[in-house]
Symmetry: C2
Amino acid sequence: MRVFPLDKVFQLLEPGPVVLLATSRNGRDNVMTMSWHMMMDFMPPRIACVVSEGDYSFRALRDTRECVLAIPTADMAALVTDIGNCSGADRDKFREFGIGRGKAAKVRVPLIEGCVANIECRVTDDALVERYDLFVLEGVAAWADEAWPELESTAVPRRLPRTLHHNGDGTFRTDGEFIDQKARMVKFPEFL
Amino acid sequence: MRVFPLDKVFQLLEPGPVVLLATSRNGRDNVMTMSWHMMMDFMPPRIACVVSEGDYSFRALRDTRECVLAIPTADMAALVTDIGNCSGADRDKFREFGIGRGKAAKVRVPLIEGCVANIECRVTDDALVERYDLFVLEGVAAWADEAWPELESTAVPRRLPRTLHHNGDGTFRTDGEFIDQKARMVKFPEFL
């Protein structure tokens, strides 16, 4: 994996892909599937996510205040579903599913190999955790898979990976047609 | 438009589509484009979104505590971009862009015609508005366009509209291939 610029992280999450959330607590790595996340700020990249108190990852995220968000590709749909349909309370998902682990730079949580990108995050605000299970994260390092050299390019069209968008019922849509409306972006020239 | 069940609203937003956010303040309707939103809870449908204090819609949302979230179709990409690249401070976007208005049931904000679905929302928590421009919304009524009779079907494959996912730079991806992993959804049988 190669370094991915933090100021481009919002472009990874703004399209709304399913992500994998990795945590590590007491020497045990775990991973869950998550679609309830959004960008909150560009730089440093601030991200909100909802991790239910019923999820095994909740306590790891709350206690260690660290995680990795990884964006799987469309061909990982079966794995992504299986990861979301069992609990780390009674199994080692990394081992059972044969998920490759990479070394993170700033958090003690593994990166997930084979994903489009990985974002190392720290919890920076837990004010809404008790009420809504809502965590505020800050991206502190990011990595892109070597397979996607154009990921942070400003060219049009960019060669972008197909990711997954969860319809909420075990069905997904992948990314389809690329539509370029850059010429109409008069308000935000810094993104062109 | 026909009534859309509130307990299915999460299936509209969980895939991460671009939405239009309509507000109305002092008799002036306005609309902006937004991608920074996420589901927070199923029922009643709770939604988080970030509306920057610099956006003209911010004050309307903060003061009236009401809005409509509408999900545009892929063929509305140019309009969606244009709406996001001008300010309601100096123009009437509904009139200038010829956007059709429908009558909402529970909020004093217009529905947006031609969209896949409209969700009437109230602001239920503004604890993080000052710090992050983050609003917590609750969906109080929802509507689907007659063109999408299968939107809340549980059949596989469903005929789903192509929506827009913003890459953050004026380019979009539309929804592509439908992937069915329902058979692997052992943890959440209530969604099958």
